[in-house]
Amino acid sequence: MAVKQRHLLAIVLVLMLVVVTACSGNDNGGNNGAKADNDHANNGAAADNSAGNDGKNDKPADTGNNGGNAGNDAAAEPLGKYDPPIEVSTVRIINDTYKFAEGDTIDNNVWYKAYADELGIKIKNDWVVSGDGVGGPGEQKMNVSIASGDLPDIIPVNPNQLQQLIDADLVMDMTDVFEKYASPLTKEIMNADGGYAMKSASSGGKLMALPNTGSSMDGAAMIWLRSDWLKKLNLPEPKTMDDVYAIIDAFTNQDPDGNNKKDTVGIALNKDIMGGYAGLDGFFNAFHAYPGIWFKDASGKLVNGSVQPETKAALAKLAELYKSGQIDKEFGVKDGGKAGESQGAGKNGFSFGQMWNPLWPMVSSKDNDPNAEWQSYPLASVDDQPARPQVTLAVGGYYAVNKKAKHPEAAVKLMNLYIEKSFGESSDPNKYGNANGLEVFKYAIELASPPTKNLDAHKAVTEALKSGDASKLNPEQTLYYDKISSYLKKENGTNERWAYDRVFGETGSFVVIDKYVSENLLMNNEFYGAPTPTMVSKGSSLKKMELEVFTKIIMGSSPIDAFDKFVKDWNSVGGEAMTKEVNEWYQAQQ
């Protein structure tokens, strides 16, 4: 027996030796960087230097010059091709709006072919799950994968999961890899929001994942109202909060729908009070209150907007409005969809909302009443200071790289390709963006978009509508243009075209966002890091307490002074610790 075992050992050792020599033989070329990054961070930096000009200077000019080099060197370029091809595994969280052309699937489609043909990266989906909602199937399946250590090379995660992966030391430090392999355009787009998104993906100054950057400005609050009612009741446009109160009062009490019954709702509101359709973000912002976000106070420290005196003032006014019947009496039990019913039925004509509200749910009021007309306005303010809409970091998710991945740079190159094909000079959105009415861009594994994508679309579409020249529009913009011009020409069609006009058209909601941006009014959430320990342990109960107290104050079942007790409780339950942690984090960022 012992002899047999010794033989086996010898054979295994010989085999290992063969494998090791064979593999290191392959590593001579441009794979140096990749190999080094698998080692300790120090060695990685050294290897970067030794890799010479491929490594540090990734200017476009270099890309051109090195194009003629041998296969393996090309792999070191931001968009270079692996030869022989490599395989990278990932997992996909999709939803039921993904539609595929005949023969395409989530495992084999135009993007996956581009990855293979142009980058030499073969993608393998370990699993695909449908349902990308918060707490939905995708999140649960990912949690199980993380807990069981069953992770692919590229891991799409949310902020909490990213923090878990970092704590468990399962993800790779991407700082050097990103620096070396990201194309200039990728770097530009990923930092276009002032670096917030990239910082949110970092831990201790190290980049731990690639963020799916989006647009925070698109979430800014605004006023939506029925302009046909405004005309009918002869009211002024909402320039100040007094105008706003007058409009709400009239929309409640002066029978705007003309059925001789007092059955209209002044302000539509959903049970979460903030966010979604018919939240009150805009109302609070009008009072210079910013519940739920962290901002710098006069002393330069970060404070939470939920517990500031301005919030109390806004709540007091809301309680007054509720008492006089100007806020939906049943808001406490209505989610966004339910809250949207009253406007759909023509019983509500005023809400605080976002730029996308016409697409949902306001299009239903147009369906039920062709005379319904909605107009957006910038937030009014209670004093002479302009109201600043609060916005929060818009990252659709993070792409972390497994520490065991053989080619971490592949993650960066996939991102390069997405950004190049979508927004670069060689972009081909007809093939990779919206092809034949299918949103093929969703098939890509890694996405990111510049924050001004929709705002730019609004400007370009408006310009094209004026000049009648749509030739310069990209496919996405053309889609909006076609719908809007069809609506403006009064052709037959769905009211969806009207909704696009309300968003991207000449008087659409992006006019409001354009004003916020150009006057620099957006109020950023200054905390964009991973959730702090107290946030993880106490955050949800603090949020629940906040919602409960705010709801009670608005509905009048608690006096307004309950707010002072709430501030005290909030601090003692964990708010104070949270504030401390957030400020420590803030110091570290400076």
Binding site: D96, D126, V129, G131, Q140, G346
Partner: protein, 293 residues
């Protein structure tokens, strides 16, 4: 009973009112969903629909029947229910029979019963459960939905008690006539237990039809989802706070209440149809199983 005291009458009236109220509570949501599924989308979004369709249309059913994912998941569910129920029933009978014997006949009986009973009280937890299934190579196959739950211990205990309630004399007679345990089980016990078997068959079928979580976690592609897992992905509310991330066109789908309603209703329909046929065994089965001699 010709005469009814007034208190008896009051009790009956109250009883009927209470039971009717309770059944309405269960029935009305279903009717609401049915009404929604036959209404126009605009009417549904405006909240006009209560218990009768508004602007009657069968559009949502046309839409759903053309949806390949829906039909594929129905097929997976049918497979799962038929395979799963057969496996469940076979193992339940095979396990309940020996465990129903006296300690005299089967010395370790009590320990075995406790060993099985403990699995009702304690589970390994989600992650170990997942890892066992993954390491045994079941992931992403229909068997992942069947084998981990192949022995429904609660059903075994029901059937076990039912077996014990049968007269011992039958078993003794059977042995005297030269039958072994297999024959006794199949030719004596199983035919005598049809009501109990019908009941737990229904339990097994409904259990397989309704469970959705294992489908989500254990299947690696949406094509392999059973119906209820698929419905879960359709019905769950989309997060609108990051709407700029996904395309704005997705918003059009949010108001898709009518097609959601159609899918929910069609998902509930098959099991609704099975109930009336098996229900008459239902009460009888459980009551008989719980009474011992």
């Amino acid at each position: 009973m010709h005469y009814m005291t007034s208190s008896r009458r009051a009790f009956i009236i109250f009883n009927y009112a209470f039971l009717i109220g309770l059944s309405l509570l269960c029935l009305l949501p279903l009717i609401h969903v049915l009404a929604l599924s036959f209404s126009s989308s605009a009417a549904a979004t405006a909240g006009y629909v209560k218990f009768w369709p508004v602007q009657f249309t069968t559009n949502s059913y046309h839409f759903v029947l053309k949806k390949p994912e829906f039909l594929a998941s129905v097929w997976v569910s049918l497979q799962r229910v038929s395979l799963g129920t057969i496996v469940n029933m076979a193992l339940t009978v095979l396990l309940a029979y020996p465990l129903s014997k006296e300690v005299k006949a089967f010395r370790m009986r009590t320990y075995y019963v406790w060993a099985f009973f403990l699995t009702i009280l304690f589970g390994g937890g989600l992650i170990p459960w997942y890892m066992v299934i993954k390491e045994t190579g079941l992931l992403d196959s229909i068997w992942a939905l069947i084998i981990p739950g192949a022995v429904p211990v609660f059903n075994v205990i029901l059937l076990l008690n039912f077996f014990r309630g049968l007269p011992k004399e039958l078993e003794e007679a059977s042995f005297i006539d030269g039958a072994g345990h297999w024959t006794t089980m199949w030719r004596i016990y199983v035919p005598l237990s049809l009501p109990a078997l019908a009941t737990i068959t229904l339990f097994a079928m409904v259990g397989h039809w309704n469970s959705w979580f294992d489908g989500l976690i254990l299947m690696n592609s949406p094509d392999h989802y059973p119906l209820q897992s698929y419905l879960q992905t359709v019905v769950i509310r989309r997060d609108l706070s990051l709407v700029s991330q996904s395309s704005l066109a997705d918003l059009a789908n949010v108001s898709d209440r009518t097609s959601k309603a159609a899918q929910i209703f069609m998902g509930a329909l098959p099991i609704l149809l099975v109930y009336p046929f098996l229900q008459r065994f239902f009460m009888k089965g459980i009551v008989l199983g719980s009474v011992k001699e």
